[in-house]
């Protein structure tokens, strides 16, 4: 079993839909959880960061972490065509040098107008 599992999609939704993107993980030591967005032919950019369990909201984006289930989610409300991209979850266990981020494979989202 890979450390981080993420359904690659593709996921196609109409404009205005609520999108739910998810990752599961196996390492109970993970405490720091991030979502990156990657447009085609571009590098990933940080969208959301969450520490431990709970929710975090930023505009139309909400990140949720359920450590008991080892499950994280990113919700996008009122999705826009500009949200069409690949979304990668990333996580790590310890806030120390020499620790790498572990990425999921990414979910490709397409929002049609």
């Amino acid at each position: 079993q890979k450390e981080v599992e993420q359904d690659p999609g593709p996921l196609s939704v109409p404009e205005g839909a609520i999108v739910s993107l998810n990752c599961t993980y196996s390492n109970s030591a993970f405490q720091y959880f991030m979502w990156y967005r990657q447009y085609s032919r571009k590098g990933p950019e940080l969208l959301m960061y969450t520490y431990s369990s709970g929710n975090k909201e930023d505009g139309r984006f909400t990140a949720q972490v359920d450590k008991s289930s080892k499950y994280i989610s990113l919700f996008i409300r009122d999705s826009q065509p500009s949200d069409s991209a690949t979304y990668l979850c990333a996580m790590t266990g310890f806030n120390q040098a020499g620790t790498a981020l572990i990425f999921g494979k990414g979910t490709t989202l397409s929002v049609s107008s």
Partner: protein
């Protein structure tokens, strides 16, 4: 101004050749990285340098050698290229060496195709 810039953006080369990808960041960050993204979009750390010191060296073939002449630059040299080296290579940087909660800024990627 591009924060993390890498060159070349596209590179097509034959098996057995040696090639380099250059990376520069103008953010004043201490830590730089090389990531590899394969055809299935899987993004994986290769190396990390902090102030020219190697701090992460994942299991990659020793044909790959990073070089950091100063903290604003981290170049990747690849010897004896193989077909399996075809991927997108991302340079990145962050302010601190701890990744947790530390925004990592990625370059736009270098598309390497080995034929």
């Amino acid at each position: 101004d591009t924060a993390v810039s890498q060159t070349p953006k596209y590179l097509v080369t034959q098996m057995g050749n040696d090639k380099s990808i250059k990376c520069e960041q103008n953010l004043g960050h201490d830590t730089m990285y090389w990531y590899k993204q394969d055809s299935k979009k899987f993004l994986k750390i290769m190396f990390s340098y902090n102030n020219k010191e190697l701090i992460i060296n994942e299991t990659v073939p020793n044909r790959f050698s990073p070089k950091s002449p100063d903290k604003a630059h981290l170049n990747l040299h690849i010897n004896s290229l193989e077909l399996g080296d075809s991927a997108v290579y991302f340079c990145a940087s962050s302010q601190r060496r701890q990744v947790a909660g530390n925004t990592i800024y990625f370059g736009e990627g270098s598309w390497l195709t080995v034929v």
